[in-house]
Subunit: 353 residues, 2 copies
């Protein structure tokens, strides 16, 4: 696969706080070392590094995270110029359009893999195999999404409705519809039909093909950041760019989207502490105890500590996250409500956000 | 009541860790400011101060807590000589015998109130009224215990079995039996008969009377610390003194014990975080939130924090106690299991004990 016209665009501008209190606006999820091997962002770069040279890896992030990104990619030999700095967050479509334009300029035949940097993928080899298949399809001018086979009716993910078709004697999985976070009844139905994938947010396409799609479906974005790409220019026009996601702006409209199934890659978008628990290894009581923990009669409980001794006693299905200036305690299945806490802290203009 | 021969002996030598992680061996429960008004020990002194002059208040504590005690009683004008320092913990009987001997020497007609300093009593006026009644009975040579009317079949308390008798035309409540922490079935039975009180550990008697009881029931203790009382002497003989409680050593054996009912004094021995919750005031959802707390959908939950922001989310009947070097999280009804944590920490020789 190590082909000279394969590029990666790593999206590292998110400012999510769903991992509060560990993640903060100033230090969002992608910059956290959750697995112990490196930050999620570093892991994302390391994962593709065997197949894509540093010079072909682009990173697009918020200007606020420039130093963090520089520090974290130091060991990967990525040229400074490959770090694209958004003056402000505009969701994924403008970022991808700008990156596509930059790549298109240096390599008109480029294939680019768009990769979020705040997800976890445990199985690198399987992932690279799936990526290879996606690149093959992208070379045939498809917009390729990596689809995750759902293992449960999760209401926290977006779903891809697909249909298997034969094209030129080969089977492809055409994406017919995008569904954002469904109700539980719908999610259960999706699971039954076996036609649905989770939308992983990972995409592969030719830069030329996606730019054509931008020109067609998001002409305003294309007009502003699909041709001229210089930093000084971008700084000037970025505020005029509409805020829109690639899913909503392009993929839901295009007739050209296919999926590649990505079985067994150990993917999670880490949308909550609960989803993290699914991918980390547990002790025989189902606990994940990180730090200096004295647990008594606990089961299926995540305790994430730093320096102090933490004593969880008689807990089931709980999440305890302790940091130097903030502590979260909640039942596992309520870990999505962390956003309520963050909302309160934002309202109170608290520095712990 | 401010009678010249009434004395108080405040027991301040306990080293319990049932309030871990807030209480420690080096800073046990009685020295904690739980109510916000002062430490439990200070509150104990302040509570009797309107009726008993500083010069009549004796404090018996472990030598290890000397500085803490000195600091905490500074404002009460208690003579240095009234602070009796046990070289090591020997349970309550030897401490009380020594204190009685000290008081007996200065005032042969003394009545002494023995008061634990790690309990809470919310209603000072009612308490002082009960104390007055107890003093009256003590003057008639009874050993008087303050009995708490049980409000539930608690298995964490000792119980007094009583019988109402008429003596010289007056009704007294004679204590017939002491029962240490009963099984739940027994406790329920006790509650039904209405003959039982909780043993508050507060006693009133003449120093001369209790010394006679020591001479009869605990001659070894009496022989060692019931007559000679000097500090140098005590330091020499204390290690020979048996380790025994006043309940077990004297009160269970004496035929001379009566109870005074202490209704509505708002007493708790604070034997666990759960029992603390019963006496502190709650918000309308039943929560007690001390510190910088952002609670979302919590009920009947105690959160005890210091500096950092704590976010309890979706919790019911939980206890969260956060200190700079240790954090406890447990269901309210498991708060007695804190001792298991402390045991582990002791085994590991951890400084957090």
């Amino acid at each position: 696969m190590r082909s000279s016209n394969l590029y990666a665009v790593i999206l590292a501008g998110g400012s999510g706080t769903r991992f509060w209190p560990v993640s903060r606006k100033s230090n969002p999820k992608q910059f956290l070392n959750i697995t112990g091997k490196g930050t999620l962002f570093q892991e994302t770069v390391a994962r593709i590094r065997p197949e894509i040279a540093g010079s072909h890896i682009f990173i697009i992030t918020n200007a606020a995270y420039h130093n963090t990104v520089r520090r974290q990619v130091a060991r990967f030999k990525i040229p400074k110029a490959n770090i694209l700095l958004e003056p402000e967050a505009k969701n994924t479509a403008p970022a991808i359009c700008w990156a596509a334009a930059v790549i298109q300029k240096t390599d008109p035949g480029a294939v680019m893999a768009v990769l979020p940097s705040d997800h976890i993928i445990l199985e690198q080899k399987k992932f690279l195999k799936v990526l290879k298949e996606a690149v093959r399809l992208a070379r045939e001018d498809y917009l390729v999404t990596l689809g995750i086979t759902p293992s449960r009716p999760d209401t926290g993910y977006g779903y891809l409705k697909t249909a298997r078709k034969r094209v030129n004697g080969k089977q492809i999985i055409r994406v017919e519809k995008f569904t954002e976070k469904p109700a539980i009844s719908k999610a259960k139905q999706f699971l039954k039909t076996k036609k649905y994938f989770w939308n992983s947010g990972m995409f592969v396409w030719k830069s030329s093909v996606i730019l054509e799609e931008f020109a067609r479906h998001l002409p305003k974005v294309y007009g502003l950041v699909g041709k001229k790409t210089g930093m000084a220019y971008i700084r000037r026009v970025w505020r005029l760019v509409p805020r829109i996601s690639i899913d909503y702006g392009i993929l839901e409209k295009s007739k050209n989207v296919v999926a590649v199934a990505a079985p067994g890659i150990g993917w999670s978008d880490l949308g909550s502490w609960e989803s993290l628990m699914e991918v980390l290894s547990k002790d025989k009581r189902g606990n994940i105890l990180k730090g200096d923990i004295v647990a008594v009669n606990c089961r299926n409980t995540l305790v994430w500590g730093e320096k102090k001794v933490i004593a969880p006693v008689g807990l089931n299905d709980m999440v305890i996250i302790d940091t130097p200036d903030a502590l979260l305690v909640c039942p596992k299945d309520r870990s999505q409500d962390v956003r309520d806490v963050v909302d309160v802290l934002i309202k109170k203009k608290r520095r712990e956000v």
